[in-house]
């Protein structure tokens, strides 16, 4: 069956009624966050308990649905209750017992269990009061465009996507706009690639459109290689149809009839939801031949990555789709000329695509109203590390790092001091405290020596050693370097050896200069973006935290107390009760001391295993 435009609108009306409590015989709608994070935190038990308790009470006019990531990973499992004429209620950190109580109180008797709601968990609501999620500090400053459906719809049901204006943008493009108009709208919107580079999307599409060929392709980059980032996963898990719709629009605008989504194999739920979405769209004729009777046809395929960071680079990604070792190749020729299978190809990131239906539907002006002069719209960040609220946040471009960390993120736990935020993953850099008030956009972040990246934002506090962090990222690139070009393959390894010397306390001051020289050499001479950006974490930390490097090299000291080789364990005399537990735990007999007397550690014998510290019940052992 191929849907007509009229049928799409009918379906929207009908589906909207189906998911609105108070209509179509639905008393309430309860959704459970059922993305990777929710499942990991125990959402399965919650949903089972919901179904069981409703059945026990004989309630059958309440819908229980699974949805994508609501964004507050910290507070999973999350349950949201929608009832007629009421703001939605957000329950957090649920388990089977709490759920049972909630069903009996809230669903059956209309009494909200305030102590389980978000406001109580964050401490923002007074006792017994309920705070709507939108009013919490975590949500207030966010604006959801790419994530608008995540945590709202059931991603495995196309009608819910359609109810929220899904496929209306495709309808508009195919029935009202010429391909050139679509591209013009994107150019006017100022949308830039969300995969890291920030290249203007409309311009990219216009390059492919300009090349005549018997076959062209659209490729979606869902390889999400930055370790510690999961924006694209959440979009695919929570709103896969947005990507399907946008890729189809891209096919229309650039003259491509086939598309490929390259997804990490480590994202099984994303893959499953995407497969379902493609099946459903095909069944309704929203993919396939002659969509909406326009004569335009489009097909989508999925290919799974297999764990190679370099395959996130566009040329390597295309080589990998062709079934080969995912090695990058020199550009030009650019993919717009010679891409997948040697044909003109447009390649965009998941989040870039997720913005597009909204832009087509509401216009370029509407989109460009948010953001800074050269960076329009919003950006999704995966907030993690030493921060109170970890999760997914979507903020208007131009928000400052301070707002993200202090307001949205709720600050650093344990009263610790903020040290730096890392963006851009292994290709990026860090933002030290002195730059915390910089408005976040592509150009500002580049100017302060970091980069937007794909959206990983890791917060570090005083307990993190910046040399160790630089070493961590370099270890990653050494491992992931594909080996094709020597500056990257050999150079990163040599840098790693110098960092090893530094963290082992065996380096001399000249090593720092050597490290820097090598870094610039690798940046200038590598074949692809991986090598060209691999030294960034080292250069950024050298610039902002040179004193920490110097402390390691000259004073043989790790100020944060992380680098094992530079640490010694000591007994704090005031706290030691002489219980002998540590001496018994020490595998090498390095601890001396009699019962009821203060103990002492022989640092020459000590192998720094930390067993004494783990054993001591009085906190009498310290590392410094």
């Amino acid at each position: 069956m191929a849907l007509t435009t009229v049928q799409l609108d009918d379906l929207r009306t009908h589906a909207l009624a189906q998911m609105t409590p108070g209509r179509s015989g639905l008393a309430m709608r309860i959704v459970v966050g059922y993305a990777t994070c929710g499942i990991a935190a125990g959402a399965k038990a919650v949903i089972e308990s919901l179904r069981k308790e409703l059945a026990v009470l004989g309630i059958d006019d309440v819908a229980v649905e699974e949805t994508g990531c609501i964004g507050m990973c910290q507070y999973e499992p999350l349950v949201e209750v929608f009832a007629p004429d009421q703001p939605k209620i957000t329950y957090v950190q649920m388990n089977a017992e709490k759920t049972a109580r909630m069903v009996h109180s809230h669903v059956a008797n209309g009494k909200v269990v305030a102590e389980y709601t978000i406001g109580a968990a964050t401490g923002e609501a007074a006792q017994g009061e309920v705070l709507p999620l939108d009013s919490t500090a975590f949500y207030k400053k966010q604006q959801r465009v790419a994530l608008r459906n995540c945590g709202v719809i059931d991603p495995e049901r196309i009608e819910q996507y359609i109810a929220r204006d899904g496929y209306q943008a495709l309808k508009k493009a195919l029935t009202e706009l010429q391909p050139a108009d679509v591209i013009q709208i994107l150019k006017d919107s100022g949308l830039r690639g969300r995969g890291g580079g920030g290249f203007p999307t409309g311009l990219k599409w216009s390059f492919t459109a300009a090349n005549a060929a018997d076959q062209k392709y659209v490729v979606c980059n869902a390889d999400e290689g930055d370790p510690g980032a999961f924006m694209d996963r959440s979009v695919l898990e929570g709103d896969p149809h947005a990507v399907v719709e946008a890729m189809t629009i891209c096919g229309y605008a650039t003259g491509a009839s086939e598309g490929y989504v390259y997804v990490r194999a480590e994202y099984p739920i994303a893959v499953k939801h995407l497969e379902t979405a493609i099946e459903q769209a095909t069944a309704l004729g929203l993919l396939g031949d002659d969509i909406f009777g326009s004569g335009f046809g489009f097909r989508l395929h999925i290919r799974l990555g297999a764990g190679a960071f370099v395959c996130g680079e566009e040329t390597a990604l295309m080589t990998s789709i062709e079934g080969k070792r995912g090695e990058p190749r020199p550009r030009p020729p650019y993919p717009a000329v010679k891409g997948l299978f040697g044909k003109p190809t447009t390649e965009n990131n998941v989040e870039t695509f997720a913005n597009i239906p909204q832009i087509i539907l509401h216009g370029a002006r509407n989109f460009a109203a948010t953001g800074t002069e050269k960076s329009k719209g919003t950006k999704v960040f995966a907030l993690g590390g030493k921060i109170t609220n970890t999760g997914l946040v979507e903020i208007p471009m131009g928000t400052t790092l301070r707002e993200i960390i202090e307001d949205i993120g709720g600050g650093i736990p344990g009263g610790k001091k903020f040290k730096a935020a890392q963006t851009g993953g292994p290709s990026g850099g860090c933002i030290p405290e002195s730059m915390i008030d910089t408005p976040i956009d592509y150009d500002n972040l580049t100017a302060i020596g970091s980069m937007m990246g794909s959206g990983g934002l890791i917060v570090m506090d005083e307990d993190n050693c910046m040399v160790d962090i630089a070493r961590f990222f370099l270890d990653f690139t050494v491992d992931e370097s594909c080996g094709k070009c020597s500056p990257c393959r050999i150079g990163t390894k040599r840098m790693m050896e110098i960092l090893d010397k530094i963290t082992a306390g065996k380096a001399v001051m000249e090593d720092l200069d050597k490290l820097e020289e090598l870094a610039y050499h690798i940046k200038e001479n590598s074949l692809c973006g991986l090598g060209q950006s691999a030294p960034n974490p080292v250069l950024a930390t050298l610039r902002a935290f040179r004193d920490e490097y110097v402390a390691h090299v000259r004073d043989k000291r790790c100020p944060a107390g992380v680098c094992k080789a530079l640490l010694n364990y000591y007994v704090i005399a005031d706290k030691c009760r002489g219980c002998t537990a540590c001496a018994r735990a020490c595998p090498v007999g390095a601890i001396r001391g009699k019962v009821k007397e203060v103990h002492d550690i022989d640092t020459d014998k000590c192998i720094k295993c930390g067993a004494c510290m783990a054993t001591c019940r009085f906190g009498a052992i310290e590392k410094r």
Partner: protein, 166 residues
């Protein structure tokens, strides 16, 4: 990427051979599906020993050298079998800054194996992975399909013991 190659003799079952033949039949005509075939073969056999790689090369009509090239390029392809319980410690950035290395070190200390290795009794294999998407629970590890979050090194021994007793 350097990979550990298993020296254990390979033994496939009739049932596995049938499943493998079906995969080949489905994808044979499209050489760009080589990776898909290798992924499915790994699902069937658990890993990709040389014998299976040779069967893939035969079935897809590509040189064995090409199959080997792909298998060593991507982290996902395993050249040695996994233990009965495969442990995967996340060393993504979010987990790392929250102390994932100490978790990994503790496991290594307890089991006497490093990442990419399997215990002699075949009970546990250990791997380090990059972000499983549960950063909100960092540091995280997976044993089989089960995710353990908010870990501290002291918990590791107890968690592993539960698997030993199974």
């Amino acid at each position: 990427m350097l990979k550990k190659v298993s020296k254990l003799p390979f033994q496939g079952t009739e049932c596995q051979a049938q499943a493998f033949a079906d995969v080949i039949a489905q994808y044979k005509s499209d050489p760009s599906q080589l990776m898909t075939v290798m992924q499915k073969a790994q699902q069937i056999y658990g890993y990709l020993p040389f014998e299976v790689q040779a069967m893939i090369a035969d079935g897809m009509d590509v040189p064995l050298e090409k199959v080997y090239g792909v298998s060593t390029f991507y982290a996902q392809f395993a050249l040695s079998p996994a233990g009965k319980h495969s442990i995967s410690v996340c060393l993504g950035t979010a987990c790392y800054v929250k102390g994932a290395q100490a978790i990994l070190d503790r496991i290594t200390e307890l089991l006497g194996i490093g990442p990419g290795e399997c215990t002699e009794d075949g009970l546990f294999s250990l791997d380090a992975c990059r972000c499983i998407g549960a950063c909100g629970l960092a540091p995280v590890m997976m044993i089989g399909e089960k995710v353990y979050g908010n870990l501290v090194p002291e918990q590791v021994e107890g968690i592993l013991a539960a698997y030993r007793d199974q």
